[in-house]
């Protein structure tokens, strides 16, 4: 977690001193899209992990 925060602050510091605009776009879009992708992966992995703990007939959900 601290590594993530350190990276983020380094990135922000870099783009803060940049004169062109693409670093902002890159950092903004990149950070957030990567973050959301990470969350998605976590959700899917949790689903797998939980489903494995249940017998097949219990692996259902309401439709």
């Amino acid at each position: 977690m601290s590594i993530v925060l350190a990276t983020v602050s380094v990135v922000l510091a870099q783009i803060g001193s940049s004169s062109t605009q693409w670093p902002y776009v890159g950092a903004g879009a990149g950070l957030v899209l990567v973050g959301i992708a990470l969350y998605t992966v976590l959700v899917l992995r949790k689903g797998r992990q939980l489903a494995r703990q249940l017998k097949p007939e219990d692996r259902r959900w309401m439709s």
Binding site: Q21, Y24, Q53
Partner: protein, 270 residues
């Protein structure tokens, strides 16, 4: 121990193409949705970062608009869904509504956090600061804290009924909070620009390909949100199942103990 199938509509199996239940939260529906998402999101990325033109005033940075605004919409949608589902849960008390509320709230938290991050980075080149205490940013930060409070309530060690009731009351407050956030730019003089799309007369001030890209970003974002919500809901349901299983196992173990220490009356082999 009642199983959900006893008082609910027909239940859908998780089947892979081969027809066997898979150990994931996926299903045919989400697989189809997921496959559709790939080209949809690819087109979004192209339009946002390559295809659409740079702005006259903001330059390339305007492309962050196509990230920031859809994420805000997703955040609001998630919070509204959570609030409405909580309201309906208080009325109908079925597990489905409770889990929808919780899943939507968690996704909403991620989206609000993302909003704050993109908005902050967007703010640096356009306003000169990463953060300021204007009305909209402050009320968005408040929404974030409210959501964190909701997630904290969901984690309390209590029965699903107690947990559901308490978190539902917190969730009902999302709605007035979002309204305050959205309207805050008009109620108080603010650094943030006026709401572009959601003013009631709906006359957009950006045009052409930029406008199309923005609207398309909403559509792509909502599709992604729907897919993610379905998965998150299923994970929540599976979690409840596993917890119930854990309870059953603990009860079984307890009963076994009763036989071994000779304290049971009548019939136990000594």
């Amino acid at each position: 121990m009642t199983t959900p199938t006893e008082h609910r509509a027909p239940v859908q199996d998780a089947t892979a193409a081969t027809g066997e239940p898979t150990a994931t939260s996926g299903s045919r529906t989400t697989r189809v949705l997921g496959i559709i998402l790939f080209p949809v999101l690819a087109l979004w990325a192209y339009l946002a970062f390559v295809g659409s033109p740079a702005d006259v005033n903001q330059g390339e940075v305007v492309r962050l608009l196509y990230v920031h605004v859809p994420i805000v919409v997703l955040a609001y949608t998630a919070c509204f869904i959570s609030a409405i589902a909580s309201g309906v849960w208080l009325w109908k008390r079925t597990q489905w509504w409770d889990l929808v509320a919780a899943s939507a709230a968690e996704i909403g938290t991620v989206m609000v956090a993302a909003t704050l991050v993109v908005g902050s980075i967007y703010g640096r080149p356009t306003w000169g600061v990463y953060w300021t205490w204007d009305a909209r940013l402050t009320s968005t930060a408040m929404l974030m804290l409210l959501l964190l409070g909701y997630l904290a309530v969901r984690r309390i060690p209590a029965s699903t009924e107690v947990r559901g009731r308490r978190s539902a009351i917190v969730a009902l407050l999302f709605v007035p909070n979002i309204i305050v956030v959205n309207q805050s730019v008009t109620w108080w003089r603010s650094l943030h620009q006026d709401p572009t799309l959601f003013r009631l007369n709906l006359s957009p001030e950006i045009e052409g390909l930029m406008f199309f890209t923005l609207v398309y970003s909403f559509a792509a974002g909502l599709l992604f949100f729907a897919w993610l919500l379905v998965h998150r809901f299923r994970v929540a349901y599976l979690q409840d199942q596993v917890d119930a299983l854990g309870l059953d196992l603990a009860l079984e173990e307890r009963r076994e103990e009763g036989w071994d220490d000779g304290w049971t009356t009548g019939g136990a082999p000594s």
